[in-house]
């Protein structure tokens, strides 16, 4: 999927009549005696920002990991463009995660030995881009995320807010269809958190990228088009209307 970076961003995303892009159906997952998911279902459409909320231990991160193909559920199906992730080989799932999915975590998780520019370019290189093209595109995304000035610095030399914007640039640069963001502002102060959410949601809507946002923070969830509540491994509001 290729994107052009333009300045116009719609304020909401995802057409209500569009078919789901990613669809988890009746997902169950246990870790030993602990039941993390107990029949959770969720769908997300192209260009939609969906917040996954719930108390600690409710199963929201496990649900995200199942949808992202990181964890295989015990039962249920995860459909991405009609391909079932639960029956896919590990190699295919890895390829899908690399090319179709982007990730933003609470603590950036950038490669400390690489510069910020190289971190962003790496996701493009893994997708097969040549170095020069990857670095040009990475520079463009750092510009969009307003952190072009830290391109040559290593992650340890930038602030938390800047590092998180680099992580968002890395997630968006390879042109994924879905971005999974797990507490993306959890380690930031209010103002930096707000800027990261502004840039993440506006860039995603501009490029038609779906965002699944795991958060316990209502002000972060308020950037979404709709929310899904997870409680005791079950979802509320996850079925298509």
């Amino acid at each position: 999927m290729s994107h052009t970076i333009s300045s116009e961003a719609p304020m909401t995303g995802g057409r209500a009549d569009a078919p789901p892009l990613l669809y988890g159906v009746d997902l169950h997952k246990a870790f030993g005696p602990s039941r993390a998911l107990d029949g959770a279902s969720l769908h997300i459409r192209a260009g939609e920002v969906v917040a996954l909320m719930g108390p600690s231990g409710s199963g929201k991160s496990t649900l995200m990991h199942c949808l992202a193909g990181i964890v295989r559920p015990d039962s249920g199906r995860v459909l991405y463009r009609n391909d079932d992730l639960t029956t896919m080989s590990d190699a295919r799932r890895s390829a899908l995660r690399r090319t179709e999915f982007g990730f933003v975590f609470q603590f950036g998780q950038l490669v400390p030995e690489l510069s910020c520019l190289e971190n962003v370019a790496l996701s493009l290189r893994l997708g097969g881009a040549r170095q020069r093209a990857a670095e040009a595109k990475a520079a463009e995304w750092l510009e969009v995320l307003e952190v072009a000035d830290v391109a040559a610095k290593r992650p340890g030399e930038v602030s938390g807010g800047q590092g998180q914007r680099v992580a968002v640039a890395r997630a968006l640069a390879a042109g994924p269809s879905v971005i999974f963001a797990d507490e993306p502002t959890g380690a930031l102060d209010s103002l930096n958190g707000e800027r990261v959410m502004d840039l993440l949601t506006m860039s995603a809507r501009r490029t038609g990228t779906a965002v699944l946002l795991v958060t316990h923070d209502a002000r972060v969830a308020a950037y979404s088009d709709r929310e899904i509540v997870v409680r005791d491994g079950r979802t509320r509001g996850g079925e298509p209307a």
Binding site: M11, T12, P55, D198, M202, A218, R219, A221, A222, Y223, S224, D225, E227, V229, R236, G237
Partner: protein
Amino acid sequence: MSVAQTLLGLLESGPRYGYDLKRAYDERFGRDRPLHYGQVYSTLARLLKNGLVEVESVEPGGGPERKCYTITDAGITDVEHWLTQPEKPEPYLQSTLYTKVVLALLTGRAAAEILDTQRAEHLRLMRELTRRKQQGDLADKLICDHALFHLEADLRWLELTAARLDELTREVRR
């Protein structure tokens, strides 16, 4: 807060005299602002006129007759409607939400759903404000921030109450 619907909700657990109804109300919801007798009887008269309660029996006494009130099917529907409709988010909403949750527990309704419905309404408004903030100037941002922080405080209360529902159920049914 709606005194009429609260009295109706209290009547759902069984017929009561006006005096008992006032006492039940004051014990649960009126510690800071107990009801006046006049307010109880004028509210009951209105509910009677609207067909939401009936007089089950009349007990003659030395003074005025004592009437025992019972809720009608229309009254139960009215309580149900009130409990399931989200409140408009505004300051000092907690007393109304607390009343709704306690009444739901007293009448065997799903209190968690009332909290979830309210939560969704709060978040809907937070979404609107966030969009306004993203499109607006600095003044807009500051005004929306103030409203957002207040809504967030309400939401935290809703979440904590949801987490304490089992405890509250035991307390209410004791």
